[in-house]
């Protein structure tokens, strides 16, 4: 019997990792399959040849191959990688925050982190204002986004100086901050030039078009900065999920853990938001789909959510490229994934949360 439990325990852990790896592999496969997907007709093998040429720095010979090179190598490549990284960061953040705050509605969006980052960026784009001076334009945007993405966390820390902040209060604070930022962003939008406005509009829905290879290292950095600390804390997050008092008596300071994780999530999310805008829904839904497959232990849940988030964003972007290339990807995510999510909720064995 004991052996049964031990082997069941190990099998469950292994299966969680296997599931996450399998889904992640699908995401990687989708990156390759997505390379030729565009409005002009490019074959799969042709796309790879162009992509490898691009990697080797081969100059295109004529206008047609120049165009194809631009689409396959310069646009679709970083676009796919960006989509995968954005999905991974947002979904992993959502999974950890839901457990830490013990609320199924928590994610970088509902906690105000995303809208804070967007506001910081909009301020930088429209007024050229950067909180930290003497940075180039892009770094200025990123640091702005990061600093404003910390505002919800700062509000929570500020309130906790006066009274005990319950997890429910944290999410309510986040929603309040989110509305404030959204309102301020809307106000700024009124003063904008039409071209910037269109850009900001698509950011506020979330878009992965227009990414370049230069942004790829920053996407990888965002993934590392978010996933490494969250995975390091996975066991502690599970313990805090069962109640603050119990966690404290197991040697964990729950509020400190929440703030540390909020900071990690803010860093990752603000980088993502600078390039893609606020992609909602992924951070909320991908973890719940993952829960249905691997359960709610963070050791499996965080990687599985990240992998599912990647597939969601990239899959939606592929659909966008095929149907209506000018639409922001956020629209398609909501359109495709909501029905999938409702289906998962119905098919779920137990009413878990």
């Amino acid at each position: 019997m004991n052996r049964d439990v031990a082997s069941w325990f190990r099998r469950k852990r292994r299966n969680g990792i296997l599931f996450a790896s399998a889904v992640f592999l699908i995401a990687v496969l989708m990156i390759f399959l997505s390379l030729p997907v565009s409005q002009i007709d490019i074959g799969l093998s042709e796309a790879y040849r162009i992509f490898i040429d691009g990697l080797n720095g081969v100059k295109p010979a004529d206008f047609e191959s120049f165009l194809k090179m631009k689409i396959v190598y310069e646009e679709n490549g970083p676009r796919a990688i960006g989509a995968v990284c954005a999905g991974a960061v947002l979904a992993a953040s959502g999974a950890a925050l839901q457990n830490l705050i013990r609320n199924p509605l928590a994610d970088p969006y509902t906690l105000g982190i995303s809208s804070g980052a967007l506001f910081g960026m909009v301020v930088s784009v429209s007024f050229g204002f950067s909180v930290i001076p003497f940075l180039n334009e892009l770094d200025g945007q990123i640091t702005n986004a990061f600093i404003f993405s910390l505002v919800p966390t700062a509000v929570v820390v500020f309130i906790s100086a006066f009274k005990k902040v319950s997890p429910t209060m944290m999410i309510l604070c986040g929603i309040a901050v989110m509305y404030i930022f959204t309102a301020m962003t809307t106000m700024i939008k009124y003063t904008m030039e039409p071209e910037t406005l269109a850009q900001v509009y698509s950011w506020s829905i979330g878009s992965v078009s227009g990414l370049s290879w230069g942004s790829v290292p920053k996407f990888f950095a965002a993934v590392a900065v978010t996933l490494v600390p969250l995975m390091y804390f996975h066991r502690r997050i599970d313990i805090v999920a069962q109640g603050d008092n119990g966690a404290l008596t197991l040697g964990i300071n729950p509020n400190r853990l929440r703030i540390l994780c909020l900071i990690a999530v803010s860093v990752g999310t603000s980088v993502i938001v600078c390039y893609t805008g606020t992609i909602g829904f992924v951070g909320l839904v991908a973890p719940h789909i993952a829960r249905a497959f691997v359960g709610s232990g963070c050791r499996s849940l965080i990687p599985a959510s990240a992998a599912i988030g990647s597939v969601m964003v990239l899959g939606s972007d592929i659909a966008i490229r095929m149907i209506a290339p000018s639409l922001p990807v956020g629209v398609m995510i909501a359109l495709i994934c909501s029905p999938v999510f409702i289906l998962v909720l119905i098919r779920m064995k137990r009413n878990n949360w």
Binding site: M1, N2, V5, A6, W8, F9, K12, Q98, N99, R102, N103, P104, R235, R236, D238, I239, A241, Q242, G243, N245, G246, L248, T249, L250, G251, I252, N253, R291, G295, S296, G297, R350, N352, W353
Partner: protein, 268 residues
């Protein structure tokens, strides 16, 4: 009220000493604990009894740093808990709360494994699994190991939380009404097991208990609280008298002897 002189034999055997001195705690202006002074100086089972709202849980929370007392001190082996980090405290003191939050349920064995957190290190997984399973087995719920928390009854859940606390293998275990959701058979079983583990491993078990007969049957010492103060502290025979129960609970009763322990029959 105190019986400290006649027990020199057991204190030597590595028993932990908790010395609570003049403990005062209140929310804003409303005082809950009004000066608690008590010393737990040998392993065994101590039950805290008293009517609702007298500060039993508050006292326990002041002992394990969930709450910070306004005045007074809690010394563990001579060291003030204020100076002990939560991490170090977790290695010597365990806590079994009334219930756990269950927003995102995980499996029973995963939950009990959490109790091993203060001791676990790289490569201790097998040992942690072994201890966790053993505790479930001793509580008679090993067959629930692979179930999810949300599939359990209230009584089963309470036993899982208890197993989590026991898996921590602390030198002091604080329990907040560990038998409240159990049927009579399992109330007796759990109380007996706690008394047995306390005896075997030299653990000091401090349990809040509303069932006076359970407290009387299994405790080495009973602490009766009334209005934020210690009303009586001593052996079950010393504490459970008709007079004490009438004063503290405002209930008339008859105390008889049963199997060498006091047994309380409540009268209307």
């Amino acid at each position: 009220m105190e019986a400290e002189n006649k027990n020199d034999d057991k204190t030597a055997k590595g028993g932990i000493v908790i010395d609570i001195d003049g403990l005062v705690f209140g929310y804003r202006s409303f005082p809950i604990l009004k000066g608690i002074t008590v010393k737990f100086d040998r392993p065994g089972m101590v039950s805290i009894v008293g009517p609702n709202g007298v500060g039993k849980s508050t006292l326990i929370h002041c002992m394990n740093k969930i709450l910070t007392p306004r005045e007074g001190s809690v010394l563990i082996d001579g060291e003030d808990v204020r100076n002990i980090s939560v991490k170090s405290l977790a290695k010597i003191m365990g806590y079994v709360p009334y219930t756990v939050t269950n927003t995102f349920p995980i499996s029973v064995i995963d939950t009990v494994m959490m109790g091993r957190h203060p001791h676990s290190k790289f490569g201790s997984l097998d040992e942690d699994l072994e201890i966790s399973y053993d505790m479930l087995d001793r509580l008679g719920i090993a067959d629930l190991s692979m179930r999810q928390l949300n599939e359990l009854s209230a009584g089963q859940l309470q036993k899982v939380i208890l197993a989590k606390g026991l898996a921590q293998q602390p030198r002091v275990l604080l329990l907040d009404e560990p038998t409240s959701n159990l049927d009579v058979k399992h109330q007796l079983g759990v109380a007996r097991l706690l008394a047995q583990i306390s005896r075997e491993s030299g653990m000091l078990t401090i349990m809040i208990c509303h069932d006076l007969n359970i407290a009387a049957k299994y405790s080495d010492k009973v602490m009766m609280m009334s209005e934020g103060k210690v009303f009586a502290y001593g052996t079950p025979e010393e504490v459970f008298t008709r007079e004490n129960i009438r004063q503290v609970y405002d209930v008339d009763c008859e105390v008889i002897e049963d199997q060498g322990r006091p047994h309380i029959i409540l009268r209307d």
